[in-house]
Amino acid sequence: MGLEKLKTVLKNEKTGHTLELKTPIIGASGTYGYNSEFEDFIDLNCLGAISTKGITLEKRPGNSGERLFEVKGGLINRIGLENVGIDAFIEEKLPVLTEKKIDFLLNIAGSTIEDYEKLAQIANENNIKAIEVNVSCPNVKQGCLEFGLNPNALFELTRKIRMNYDGFLVVKLSPNTQDIRALATAAEQGGADCISAINTLRGLGVKVDFVGDKFIKKTVQGGLSGSCIKPVALYMVNQIKQSVKIPVIAMGGIASLNDLFEFMAVGADAFQIGTSNFIDPKICFNLAVKLKDFMDKNNFKDFNELKGAIFE
């Protein structure tokens, strides 16, 4: 496809851990399935990577009731980490990723430090090159976000995962915090190789209808994503970039080439695309092509040069 010049390497300069990406564009967790779900639409080998659906130790049925609520410029979801569990992932989903040579980050979530430790061990045993630690799911009752909001807890969690995992360790941060810089620093000090941000924002969708002589109310509380969260994401990525030396994978409302430039301007080293995949299932590929065309036209020899030119 001629996307060679989009190749990029995320590197933790301190440890030397690296993650090679064919393009800087990654399908975000929860929007790209487990492995080859988007192959009807694009050649998955042209993607930087996919971040898998969040995987827990045991399989989870997710939340009951309404799971989606559309708002102006965004989407609220409360899927609740429905997933097949790590055993089924390793047995059924991993072989497909391997066979089809799809680069991926295994997204993991847990309720306790021990959950995360076990998941990290399993990833290690199976030679999984990169994991993305979800400490920021707002849709589950226990765990997860609790680690994501307390710098001490996040440091400890990251340290324990690091002790059990030799590959490229990405920690995905929550925007539902007063101090994103402290969290990013805690993850870096705990041994993270990279930060990804942001996960969804807490939101409440409310619909009120007046039928006959009665008000009928419907509410859905969950994580808000989509273009409406982009300014928050830009702010957070900017803050994170100022507080850590490790690379940052940016996400939050990315839907266009210009969005990529905006995130590069605040220091993004790679990108994840989430909600936009639902509108355009080819977007991860289309954006890569647009990025490459821009670079060709304006004589940028590789992605690093482009990134440097925008960020400096």
Binding site: G30, T31, Y32, G33, E37, F38, D40, F41, P61, G62, S64, E66, R67, L68, F69, E70, V71, K72, G73, G74, L75, N77, I79, E82, G226, S227, T275, N277, F278, I279, D280, P281, K282
Partner: protein, 245 residues
């Protein structure tokens, strides 16, 4: 209920937008889609909404390369669609989901409201295959009636005379698309009479290809209750397998 099909983003060119009943519109458009089955749906990109909007296919003409959908005016997405003009382009994902599993059995077709759309398409295919069928429809008011059924109920429930109709017509199988409450009641009646019923469900969807797990229902499978996505595992399910809330 697995039917093979190639999913993709397709371009459509509007042939006609027509008001067919109160607040109800039909759109016919040209496309290069070569195959779609009754019960399958398409998901149309609406520039003024975040998510695409799913619609059951009401008719498909493989000779003229036209598709037809109907919708009730609900919000910004349907308002965009209503205002499309002949020659305008649309962007849609198709074909999506699994359609009705057509059997060579005497069929009762039950459509209510705009849920009549896939049933109209199914009726056409059953007639083409010379499969005997009887078609009933239901609407809240006279102004909302969409034509095409053998018998139409207005005001009450489409299920008011269902047991008699089943007996009088020696019905062996039922296909339906209607509001959830009607489908639930219909499934209960069909189960009691030991008649298989296939129902097309509707739910708010995000990805429409089975990835996001946003449109989940519960079904019973192998003595267990499991999640199924309306967009990919459905939208057609057996009435006997759906676990109602």
């Amino acid at each position: 209920m697995t039917l093979e099909s190639t999913k993709n983003i397709h371009k459509g060119i509007i042939k006609n937008v027509e008001k067919i009943a109160f607040n109800t519109y039909a759109i016919e458009f040209f496309s290069n889609l070569n195959r779609v089955f009754p019960g399958q749906f398409i998901s149309i990109y609406c520039p003024n909404t975040v998510l695409r909007r799913p619609f059951s296919v009401m008719d498909f003409d493989e000779n003229k390369n036209t598709l037809k959908i109907i919708f009730k005016l609900k919000g910004e997405g349907t308002d965009y669609l209503r205002n499309l003009k002949e020659g305008n382009n649309i962007d849609f994902l198709a074909p999506l989901g699994n359609g009705f599993n057509i059997k060579k059995q005497k069929a009762l077709l039950v459509g209510a409201g705009v849920g009549i759309a896939p049933i109209l398409f199914l009726r056409k295919v059953l007639n083409e295959r010379n499969i005997e069928n009887y078609f009933i429809s239901g609407f809240k008011t006279e102004q909302e009636v969409i034509k095409g059924a053998d018998k139409t109920f207005v005001g009450g429930s489409v299920l008011d005379e269902i047991e008699n109709i089943i007996k009088e017509n020696n019905i062996e199988i039922i296909y339906s698309c209607a509001p959830m409450i009607v489908l639930r009641k219909l499934s209960e009646i069909a189960n009691r009479l030991s008649i298989p019923v296939q129902i097309a469900l509707e739910k708010v969807m995000a990805c429409s290809i089975g990835v996001c797990r946003g449109c989940i229902i519960k079904i019973s499978k192998d003595n267990d209750i499991v999640n199924a996505s309306v967009c990919k595992d459905g939208p057609v399910f057996l009435g006997s397998e759906v676990v109602w809330d």
